[in-house]
Symmetry: C2
């Protein structure tokens, strides 16, 4: 198995996302190369960790010269699956759904929300940008027709498992789950849970404990 | 140092949050005790991991009897800092800010958003629930007066560092940062970054790689 196809850990994937952002910022500032020290500083890690993470993907950094930014950006975009657009459905057109739909970083990264579903008759037919909210009853048929690859689940907890199962049956392979419910789906469907209350709990834990300094993540 | 005050890892804190949710759900279902196997199943970990995590906080589980739910819920709430309310300010009253303000789980967990700030004259003075949006120019003074402990930063990237510094000067000790910018703050201020585009990138990475199954987190 080539090194770049070996499984890398979730925390490494997150650092790769951060390196990509740092490198893009450096490019915008006119830089052509980046040292592991500079990347470490911007991302909040150590230079040896940067070198270790990036060494997995080929011989980029030449000692003393730093990493050439444009090829490394393009390599990281490839690895993170950002070199092609993804077809995304938003399931749940409530407040969180609305905020996510308007989130510019999704579109910039190639995550195109091309279908929106809700079961509220007052919302079905409403236009959000270029998309008209569709009846959640048509989820399977419409998701299959649109070849949706990723679903964002932003429905109440009690509805989440059912809509996620229906999305999976329609061929969706990855789910970003904002509902405070654990989804039980067939192997082959990747789930990433975002629980905003838990993010605050990590802070209240840190504030309550003796050693409240540094980053919670 | 007593065991419960020792530093526990971020991933342990997240599992404690998940155990708490699972125990609350079991209590609602009428259960009085929970086995480590049942907790492991609901949280997506192993029974030995559950026993290890919970053993840190005293001798709860009696072999064969399972964990008694009410005292364990109350212990976990204490540990996570949820046994008292927190005074929270929302900085940035845009779409993400609006979704966060309406998020019921924050209030249920005792995170009370008692101040909202924005610099848009069209928004200042608007009422959201029981709170009137205030001018971000008054951030330091108002945050200090209201004894704000946690700030949620939901402003554009380029504004994030400045508002976070001002919040820290006003006595805020923890920041939940939704801006795609790394905040550089004095030691003693805990920062937790939530980057929604990175959550999708973890999925596109998984979809692009050979072993796209299981959970991304």
């Amino acid at each position: 198995v080539p090194a770049h196809l070996r499984k890398i850990s979730e925390s490494t994937v997150r650092r790769l996302s951060l390196y990509l952002r740092a490198l893009e910022a450096l490019a915008e500032e006119g830089e052509r190369t980046a040292s592991s020290e500079e990347l470490a500083r911007r991302v909040g890690t150590t230079a040896p960790q940067v070198r270790k993470d990036l060494s997995t993907f080929g011989s980029f950094g030449k000692r003393g010269l730093g990493y050439p930014i444009p090829p490394l950006v393009s390599r990281l975009r490839d690895i993170l699956g950002l070199s092609r657009p993804w077809s995304v459905a938003l399931i749940g057109a409530g407040r969180i759904g609305s905020a996510l739909h308007a989130y510019p970083a999704f579109r910039e990264r190639g995550f195109r929300i091309i279908r929106i579903f809700d079961d509220d008759p007052g919302k079905i037919g409403e236009r959000w940008g270029e998309t008209v909210i569709q009846d959640a009853a048509d989820l399977e048929e419409e998701a299959r027709r649109a070849e949706i690859e990723i679903a964002i689940v932003a429905v109440p907890a009690e509805a989440a498992q059912a809509v996620a199962e229906r999305a999976a049956r329609a061929g969706v392979r990855a789910i970003l789950n904002f509902a405070p419910a654990r989804l039980d789906l067939p192997a082959g469907v990747v789930v990433n849970d975002v629980n905003l209350a838990m993010e605050l709990e990590a802070l209240s834990y840190a504030l309550g404990s003796d050693d409240s300094e540094g980053r919670a993540t």
